[in-house]
């Protein structure tokens, strides 16, 4: 029983967070400084989400050559910056990841 209550409450909380600004839009005038932050949300939030996956291994920062995720990620970043092609980026990144693991 209690697992269902817990899940329900967590579902409502999660939904309300996602609905918050969508619901408020049009009912308030966001301050200018806030509006100026918004164009940076995609890049800032998704970078914050991704970089630890490359750099942090088992809770510690790993910048050595043994961290194949990091170096495959660096190669993928280079490919993405040069060619701006998603399929190429993912393909080269995966290849680099598997090759680096074998070295």
């Amino acid at each position: 029983m209690s697992i269902w209550v817990l899940m329900g409450v967590c579902g409502v909380v999660t939904f309300l967070i996602r609905y918050s600004f969508i619901a408020a839009e049009g009912h308030y005038q966001p301050p200018n400084w806030f509006v100026r932050l918004l164009p940076f949300v995609p890049v800032a939030a998704l970078t914050a989400l991704t970089v630890p996956d490359l750099v942090v291994v088992d809770g510690a920062i790993a910048l050595g050559s043994g961290n194949s995720r990091l170096w495959a990620g660096v190669i993928a970043i280079g490919v993405a910056a040069l060619w701006r092609n998603a399929v190429l980026t993912i393909g080269v990144g995966f290849m680099a990841f598997y090759l680096l693991q074998r070295v």
Binding site: A44, A72, T89, I90
Partner: protein, 230 residues
Amino acid sequence: MSPRHAFLLGLRSVLPLLLGVAPFGVIYGVIALQSGIPALAAMLMSSIVFAGSAQFLLAQLVGAGAPMLLSVGAVGLINLRHALYSASVAPLLARLPRRWKLLLAYLLTDEAYAAAIPHLLPAPGKPVVAMAHWILFGSGFGLWAGWQVSTLVGVVVGAQLPAGLGLDFALPLTFIAIVVPMIRSRALLAAALAAGVAAVLLAALPYKLGLFVAALAGLLVGAALTERRT
């Protein structure tokens, strides 16, 4: 662009992310069962809560017998970053009827947002996207369906899947493929660098709070640089 085209565009954009999401869904299903959550509840949590990392955490907390208030608070903190996505897409959805807003808020996840946002950003010579809601619906629905199927596989098949394939690496790779081409100015580059460095330094904070704080740091750095130039 017709609604159908916009929906399919969103759906297509999220497909590469499903490659990375699916292993997580399967692993979640396995962990949830191991934590003592009944199969039906484990399965339905994927549509009731519908938030990957929060579901992992919830399964662990249930397994550890954590008190309910703490569990709810932890889930709220871990999902706080979605408020940023909500603020980001809100202007695009302002004129929609409420049922659309409810639906798209429910479907607003990291992956669905990431897949849709490159198509929603205003670009020179491109009019404001009138079909933003259909694009978001396409990516949101695609991710939702993929998440349901993969958790079902985890719940049914259990722990017998190969873990060493490294398929989860598809997630950071796809985010790289999405984010890097969006960096078109010094301010955006600085925002990315600040957010990335801060996220690594704060990675030890509980409940992914470091992620939220790092994103805020990126926003502030980016906005500060824009202001200086104008």
